[in-house]
Amino acid sequence: MIIVAALALALYWPLMLWVNAGAAQRSLDNGAELGCTTAIACATQLRNPVLPAPAQLGNSLRAMSVPPLAPTSVPYNTLITAGETVVGLLIASVLGIGLAVALVGSRAFERVTLPWLIASQTVPVIALAPMLAVVLGQYGVQGWLPKALIAAYIAFFPVAVGVAAGLRSPDPMQEDLLTTYRASGWQTFWKLRLPASLPFLFTSLKVAATAALIGSIVAEISTISFSGLGKMLAENSRASDTLALWVIMLYGAGLGIALVAVLGLLERLVTPWRAGQSR
C-alpha cells in the first residue's frame, strides 16, 4: 500500500506538468501575465489548473480551511454533510434491520415487498432528490433533514439485504441444536440469528456509509441548499475553480474514509470474537 502511494506521488508530478502544459502555453500565447516564461514553468502557476501543483493545492487547502467554523470554510461544510450522512445512515440502519427481520420472518412479506424494494433502488437518486425536497418542503421539512432522508433512501437497501443474509446464515445444525433445547422462536432469534448477522451488518454498513455520503452530496447539489460539500461543489463548478473543487474533493474523500474507519472501530468493539481470526 505504501509502495503504491509512493508510485502515485512519483507519477503525479510529470502527469500534472503534462496535462497543464497545453493550457499554460495558450495563456502565454495570449500574453497573460503569469510571472513565468516557459510553458513548463507556468504549468504550476495556472489559476484553474486541470491538476494542481502540490504547492497550489497546499495553499488552497490552507486558505479554504480557515477559520474552520466559518460558514464558507470547507471543514464547516464537511461537518454539515457528515451530519446529514450519519443521520441518514442511522435511519437506514433502523429501517434496514427492521426490514431484514420482517423479510426473514415471513416468506409472504418477502414475496410482496422484495420486488418493490428492488424497484426503489432503480430510481436514480439524482432525479428523486429535488422532488423529495419539494414534497418534504410542503410539509415543513427543510434544511438538513431532507438530505438525510435521501441519504437513508439509498443506504437502507444494502443494510436490509446484508442483514437478511446474516439472519439466514446460521448452520442448519445450529438451528437443530436450539430445537433440541426446545428454544422459543424468540430465543433462537436473540441467541442465534441476531449475533450471527452482526458481521454481515458491519460489512453492509460500510457499503451503506459510502452510499449515504453520495446520497447527501447529490441531495445538496440537486436541491436548493445553503451549506454542505455538495453546495460548495456546485458553486465552484459553476465558477470553474478547479483548485477549490480539488480541495472539496479531498475533504469528501477524507469524510468517506473517516466514516468507514469509525464503522471498522465499532465492528471490533461489537464483534470481539473476530479479532485476530483469519478470515
Binding site: Y181, P195, W273, Q277
Partner: protein, 265 residues
C-alpha cells in the same frame, strides 16, 4: 429387554419414508430395537442406511411415518419438551461469538436454569472434558477435537439421561479419534448416561459399545445386533486383543451380508 426399568429407547416396526419429487425414499424400514438405560449402543452402516435418520427420529427433529418410538417411555416430542436428551452433531456447531464457557452455558441460558448454579455447572462440565483451561477462548482458537469436546460438555451441561451422538468424531484424524474414544468411554462410565452413537467406523463402534446395531441401506434397515462382551476397563490392549478382532469381524460380516456388493457405493 434388559432389566425391569423402562427402556431408554424403544422402537417397534418403525418406518420413515421421505416423500420426494423423484419418488419416495425408504430411509428406515420396520426397525425394531430396545435400548436399556445405561447402555452404550452404536448404530453402524454405510451412507444412506438410515442411522442418522434414526437418531433424528429419537430427537424429534423429524417425525416417523409409521411404527412406534418411545424415548424414556414417552413420545419423542414429549421427551424433547422435557429436555430428556442431549444431541451431539457431526460438526461441533459451536456459536462462534460465544467463548468456550458461554457455549457450554448456552443450553442452561435457553432453559433458564437457576443463575447461581449455571457457572459452576459449566465449569464442572469443562473440567470433565479436560478443557477447564480454555474457558475464555473462542471456538476458532481450538482444534477440531477440542471443539467437539466442548460440544459434548455442552450436551451434558443440563444433565440429560440420554446422549444422542451423530458421528461426532467423523471429521477427526485417527489418532485424535482414538484418544477421544477413550475419553468418551470414561465419560460414559462416570456419568452413567445412555448413549446412542452413530458411526461408520467398525473399530470405534466395537471399542465403545455394549452393543453394535448393524444397519444396511436401500431400504435402511437393521441387519443385526452384535453384543460386545469386551471387559472393562477398555484401553489400548483392548484394541489389540483377539476378542476385539473377532467382534470387529462379526460386525464386518453383517455389513457385507447386507451390502451384497451390488450397490454403487
Amino acid at each position: 429387554m434388559r432389566g425391569t426399568a423402562q427402556p431408554a429407547v424403544h422402537l417397534k416396526d418403525l418406518n420413515m419414508v421421505f416423500r420426494g419429487a423423484q419418488g419416495d425414499t425408504v430411509a428406515l424400514q420396520d426397525a425394531n430395537l430396545d435400548i436399556a438405560q445405561g447402555e452404550f449402543v452404536s448404530l453402524i452402516g454405510p451412507s444412506g442406511c438410515g442411522k442418522t435418520t434414526l437418531l433424528r427420529l429419537m430427537a424429534d427433529l423429524i417425525t416417523p411415518t409409521g411404527g412406534e418410538l418411545l424415548v424414556g417411555g414417552k413420545s419423542p416430542a414429549l421427551a424433547r419438551q422435557e429436555r430428556a436428551y442431549g444431541y451431539v452433531f457431526q460438526s461441533p456447531a459451536l456459536l462462534e461469538w460465544r467463548t468456550v464457557l458461554n457455549n457450554v452455558l448456552l443450553p442452561l441460558d435457553v432453559m433458564n436454569t437457576p443463575k447461581a448454579t449455571r457457572q459452576a455447572r459449566a465449569h464442572e462440565m469443562l473440567k470433565l472434558v479436560g478443557l477447564e483451561g480454555f474457558a475464555g477462548r473462542y471456538p476458532w482458537q481450538l482444534s477440531g477435537g477440542m471443539q467437539q469436546r466442548v460440544s459434548i460438555a455442552r450436551a451434558l451441561a443440563f444433565d440429560p439421561a440420554l446422549l444422542l451422538m451423530d458421528e461426532p468424531f467423523g471429521a477427526l484424524d485417527e489418532i485424535t479419534r482414538e484418544h477421544l474414544n477413550g475419553e468418551l468411554l470414561r465419560l460414559w462410565q462416570e456419568t452413567g448416561k445412555t448413549v446412542v452413537f452413530v458411526t461408520h467406523g467398525i473399530s470405534e463402534a466395537v471399542f465403545l459399545s455394549t452393543r453394535v446395531v448393524v444397519m444396511t441401506s436401500r431400504p435402511g434397515k437393521i441387519e443385526g445386533v452384535v453384543d460386545i462382551d469386551l471387559p472393562y476397563p477398555r484401553n489400548v490392549e483392548t484394541r489389540e486383543s483377539p476378542r476385539f478382532f473377532e467382534l470387529a469381524t462379526r460386525v464386518r460380516e453383517l455389513l457385507r451380508r447386507g451390502h451384497g456388493f451390488d450397490a454403487d457405493d
